[in-house]
Amino acid sequence: MSGFWSTVFNADFVFAIFRITAPILFAALGAIIAEKAGVTNIGLDGMMSISALFGTLISYWTQSWLVGVLGAVLVGMILGLMMGFFALRLRTDIILTGIAMNMLGGGGTIFLLYMFTGLRGNTSSLSSPNILIPTLNIPVLKDIPVLGSIFSGHSVLTYLAFILVFVVRFMLNRTSTGLNIRAVGENSDAARSVGISVKRVQYIALIMSGALAGFGGAFMSMYYSQSWNVGMIAGRGFIALAAEAMGRSQPVGAMFSSLIFGFAQALETRVSGIQGVSSFLVAAIPYLVTIIGLVVFVWSSRRKADKRRRQISTSDWE
């Protein structure tokens, strides 16, 4: 059993949590911005798949990982704009538009891949080390025993994902764009009455959402996996939506719920290597952890609400 604890809870394990969390976190932030503007973006999975493909292709063409990542983000933004065009201009239902985006991410990517490269299925023959996102060894930190092996040596995008949590929080709470986004999401009529262009704000939100999905896609095909293949996002865009909901559409909350998903998957990976543990049981771990997380979340928010109610009622007495 001591062997179990040392394989499950070591520096590698914690390191893996961050690696698993990063792509979910990017998409969860994208989900938050769209949600705040009142345009639920359930097309994140498809957006990630398409931008992951273009990330790989662009980096291959230019032989530069940086251009590849920027290309993936740009493609994500274009996809956001496209969703906006259909949902806001042509007035299609935003949920259906998201579903269409996910379908495009499934079948459309195969077509695009074939059109551009003649390959079908995957790009594993194109990959080479110089077009993958590099990892960053942080000077002083990397020499500290345990902390160094946990926090140093991640990919550039992993760090960016966690930095973006606070950038997005700042953007939503402190900038006029963010305040406009929130105003539009809370009550679009009220926002319109004070002269905010609702459509414009929603376009901006969807484009930002797409950009974040683009980062997530690039992470998937240019670092996590070294090539793109059909279906490789494997539902991470949907997990991100769950993380967004569990985090109550707050960037920091979504970060923690994404970390819970990351923890669950890292745990699943380790537990499946233990003798005599059924792989079917192991496969249920992420779902179990999610349910437990939700229960804890509901319980704590209830308690908070109760407390607040009690405070209000006592203040009434005074």
Binding site: G231, A234, G276, S278
Partner: protein
């Protein structure tokens, strides 16, 4: 106006449907045998004097797209070989592999069966039997071939592969290689790894052979077995492989998980502490240069060879319709890659050991049990007992 438009639209649809049903011109120039093709769907046994040089008309239904560098390409290559030898004329229909494409699989099957112009309809993979069974029952005179899966009907020949034999060869190789500590990346632990797609009988059939073969080569072997639960999630396979390498000291990992398997190769490459073994097709040819460099060999399922074998049998007057054929090493159905990295890194003793195992399976002195249809759970308990 509206009525006119509706009529016009439905006319266009009808024309389009007829056009898509219309037979494409066969690749081969027509000769007497092909023009008679529609009648040839009668049981060939009634015409035993038929010349061996008969040109069969075949249609190859791909429930995905070509270019997978695996099953579909292999089947296509086998058919191309037969066509080049002038033994068949064939046409390939790519039906797409997505969920949304699935309705097309059934309708295409109906279409080509209804046309009656093919002597044989070829399809494959575990996703097709349900559709095939439905259609084959409706067209009892039409002949079908399904590879790597099993349909049900007197007019269907089922071709499967002894992946347990293939796994055995790979296991012998891996079990012996993990002792070669002089080689880069090979550590002193006798631990190898297996990343499977899904904990299912077919995947466990590969595994069962692998475990037994590894034990044959190395008594003290431990095999770390984990499943991705997806065939298209390389990132997850990579997580598993990283844990196998870092936590348990696996130095050779066999990935039997479709696209996911590539993730295990990436983990081996990134840690610089392990080697990878591919599956189904020669993955040294399909992976990137860097990944191919750490791929020691691949276990092969030669769909193409098996289709050629089927026509050899047919020309020899042996029909296998209604049978479940299991092809192994002698028929070229399965095998292991023995050139490139294998030739470079394997010592002469290991090559001899693998050759000995191959020989043993062919002459029957080694019998590899199968995990398919096995209800005793022998494969699973062996798996659990070898888990480090």
């Amino acid at each position: 106006m509206k009525k006119f438009l509706m009529t016009l639209l439905s006319l266009i649809m009808v024309v389009a449907m007829v056009a898509s049903c219309a037979p494409s011109t066969p690749a081969k120039p027509t000769d007497p045998a092909t023009t008679q093709a529609p009648d040839a769907s009668e049981p060939g046994g009634e015409e035993p004097t038929e010349p061996a040089g008969k040109v069969y008309k075949v249609v190859n239904l791909v429930n995905g797209t070509l270019g997978d560098r695996s099953f579909f390409d292999s089947a296509e290559a086998g058919l191309a070989e037969l066509a080049a030898a002038g033994r068949i004329s064939y046409r390939t229909i790519e039906m797409g592999g997505d969920d949304e494409d699935q309705p097309k699989w059934l309708s295409t099957l109906y279409e080509v069966s209804e046309s009656g112009e093919y002597d044989l309809i070829v399809c494959g993979t575990y996703q097709m039997p349900d559709y095939l069974n439905e259609v084959a029952a409706e067209y009892p005179d039409q002949k079908y071939l399904i590879y790597d899966s099993e349909g049900d009907g007197d007019n269907i020949v089922n071709i499967n592969y002894k992946q347990n034999d293939m796994g055995y060869l790979v296991g012998v190789f891996a079990g012996a290689m993990t002792l070669e500590t002089d080689l880069n990346n090979i550590n002193d632990k006798s631990v190898v790894g297996f990343v499977g797609g899904i904990d299912s009988p077919v995947i466990n059939d590969f595994l069962y052979g692998f475990l037994l073969g590894a034990q044959y080569a190395n008594e003290d072997i431990k095999v770390d077995t984990r499943y991705v639960n997806s065939y298209v999630d390389p990132a997850r396979a990579k997580e598993l492989a990283l844990s196998m390498i870092n936590d348990n000291g696996c130095d050779i990992i066999w990935g039997v998980a479709g696209n996911s398997g590539n993730g295990a190769a990436e983990a081996a490459l990134e840690t610089g502490k392990a080697w990878f073994i591919g599956v189904d097709s020669d993955q040294e040819l399909t992976l990137s240069k860097e990944l191919a460099a750490i791929t020691l060999t691949s276990g092969l399922k030669n769909i193409g060879n098996s289709i050629v074998w089927f026509f050899d049998e047919l020309d020899a007057g042996r029909e296998h319709y209604g049978e479940n054929i299991l092809l192994g090493i002698p028929e070229g159905g399965v095998g292991i890659v023995t050139d490139k990295n294998y030739a470079t890194y394997a010592t002469d003793e290991i090559k001899a050991l693998v050759a000995e195992a191959t020989e043993g399976i062919v002459n029957g002195s080694i019998e590899v049990p199968t995990a398919i249809g096995d209800t005793t759970g022998a494969a699973e308990s062996l798996r659990d007992s070898l888990q480090p």
